[in-house]
Amino acid sequence: MQQTIFTTLSINDLWFMMEGAAKTLWLTFWGALLGTCLGAVLGWIKTLDNWLLTSPVNMVTDVLRSVPLLIQFVLWSSGLGILGFNLDVFHISVIALSLYMAAYVSEVVRGGILAVPTVTRKAARSLGMTYWQDLRYVVLPIGTGIVLPAWIGLVLGLMKDTSLVAVIGYIELLRASQIIINRTQEPILVLLGAGIFYFALGYPISKLSGRIKTQGAY
C-alpha cells in the first residue's frame, strides 16, 4: 500500500510556486525601489563635507552592511512587534530589505558621485549653474551611467536575498518550494524548478546589465 501522507507533484504545486515567485518579485521590486531612493539620499549625504551629517549615516550603513540579513529579519520582526507596531510579514520584510539595500546603494551612489571629475563639476558651476543644477544635469546622468552595472548587481543580490524572509514566515518562492518538498519528498525536482524560476526572474536583469556594460560609459 503506497498510500501515505506524501503525495505526488501536481499542477497546483506549480501554481503555488508561481505565486511564490510573484511574491519574490514583489519583495524585490519594493526593496529595490525604496532601497534605491533612500540609498541615493544617503550616498549623496556621504559625499558632503559635513561630518555631523556623514558620520551618523556612515555608522548606520556600516551596521546594516555588516549584520547578516537573516539576523536583521528576525530583529526587525521581533523588534517592531515589541515596539507595538502591528505590521504584517510582508511589510516587515520590505522594511528590512529596503534598509539593507539602501546601505549598499549608498556606497555605490557615493562612489558614482565621486567618480564625476571635479573639473567637470567646476565647469558646470562656472557656467552659472547652481549646486542643484550641477547635481541634476551633470552629476546625476554621468554618475548613473557609471553606477548602473553595480546597481543591477545589487538588485540581483537582493532578489536572491529575499529568500531569507522565509525565517519570519513569509511564503515566497523558496519557502513555497520547501512546503512542497515536505509534502512530496521530491527535493531535487522542486529545487530545480525553484532554480529555474529564480533564473527566469534574474536573467533579464543581468542581461540588461550586460547590455549597459557593452555600451560602455562615455
Binding site: T120, A123, R125, S126, L127, G128, M129, V138, I142, G145
Partner: protein, 240 residues
C-alpha cells in the same frame, strides 16, 4: 575690469598665492606664465569664485567676488573658464553641451538656444559635430567645444587654464587659433599657458608668477627678450 588686490589663498597650511595684485582692463589679453605650482591656475579659479580666498579682494566689474552678499551664480555668467581637461559633459552631444547652461541658467527657449548653440559651434569650427558625443571628438575639438560652451553664456571675460597642456602636439594649433580669433574679436582674456610663441604673439601683457607672487610683468617683447628678474631669466631659459 578685473581688479585683484593683495590676494592670499591657501590650501590647508600651504599658501599658494601670497599677495597678488593685478588689474586686467577690458579687451586686454593677459598671459600668465610660471612654473607648475606657482599658483597660476588657482588664481583663475579664485577670480570666478570657484575657490574661496583667505585674504585680499577680487573685483569683477565693480562686484567683489568673495563678498558674502555676491550672487556667484550670477557673477559667473560673466566669466567663462576653460580647464586643461575633463571640461565637456560626456553625456551630452556637442550642441547640448553648448545649450545646457543657457537653457537652465538663462531660461532661453529650446529653439533660441539651438540657434545660438549652432552659431557658437560654427564660430569654433564644430558645426558639423553638433550631434556628436564628446567621446567621438579629438582632444582639440573637445577644448574648442568647451570654449564654445563658455561663449554661449556671452561672458565679458574668458579665463583659460593651460587648455593646450593635455593635448597631442598636432592638436595644439587649432585650439590656439581659436584663442587668436577671440583676441582679435576683442575678448578680455587671461590665459595661463606654456606656449611662449603664442604668448608673444597674442598677449598685450605677460605676467610671470613665481612662488605665489607676481615676480615680473610687462609687454611680451620686454619680458621675454629682456627680463629684469633673475628668476624670470631662469624660467625662460628652462622653457625654451
Amino acid at each position: 575690469m578685473i581688479v585683484i588686490e593683495d590676494l592670499h589663498k591657501s590650501f590647508g597650511s600651504l599658501e599658494v598665492l601670497r599677495g597678488v595684485t593685478m588689474t586686467v582692463q577690458k579687451s586686454e589679453v593677459v598671459v600668465v606664465i610660471g612654473a607648475s605650482g606657482s599658483g597660476k591656475s588657482t588664481l583663475l579659479q579664485c577670480i570666478n569664485g570657484l575657490e574661496p580666498i583667505q585674504g585680499g579682494r577680487i573685483e569683477v566689474d565693480g562686484v567683489e567676488v568673495h563678498a558674502p552678499k555676491t550672487d556667484l551664480n550670477k557673477l559667473r555668467r560673466k566669466i567663462g573658464i576653460v580647464f586643461q581637461q575633463y571640461n565637456v559633459f560626456p553625456h551630452l552631444t556637442a550642441l547640448e553641451n553648448v545649450t545646457l547652461a543657457p537653457r537652465k541658467v538663462l531660461g532661453t527657449s529650446r529653439e533660441e538656444a539651438r540657434e545660438m548653440g549652432l552659431a557658437q559651434l560654427k564660430h569654433v569650427g564644430l558645426l558639423d559635430k553638433a550631434d556628436v558625443y564628446p567621446r567621438a571628438l579629438s582632444g582639440g575639438q573637445q577644448q574648442r567645444l568647451a570654449i564654445a560652451r563658455a561663449l554661449a553664456m556671452k561672458p565679458g571675460y574668458m579665463l583659460f587654464d593651460e587648455i593646450t597642456s593635455a593635448l597631442d602636439p598636432e592638436l595644439v594649433g587649432e585650439v590656439l587659433d581659436t584663442l587668436r580669433m577671440l583676441s582679435h574679436e576683442g575678448m578680455t582674456m587671461i590665459c595661463v599657458t606654456h606656449e611662449m610663441g603664442f604668448a608673444r604673439e597674442v598677449a598685450h601683457r605677460i605676467v610671470f608668477f613665481d612662488e605665489g607672487v607676481i615676480c615680473e610683468e610687462g609687454p611680451p617683447a620686454e619680458l621675454l627678450d629682456n627680463p629684469q628678474q633673475p628668476r624670470t631669466r631662469q624660467f625662460l631659459r628652462q622653457v625654451r
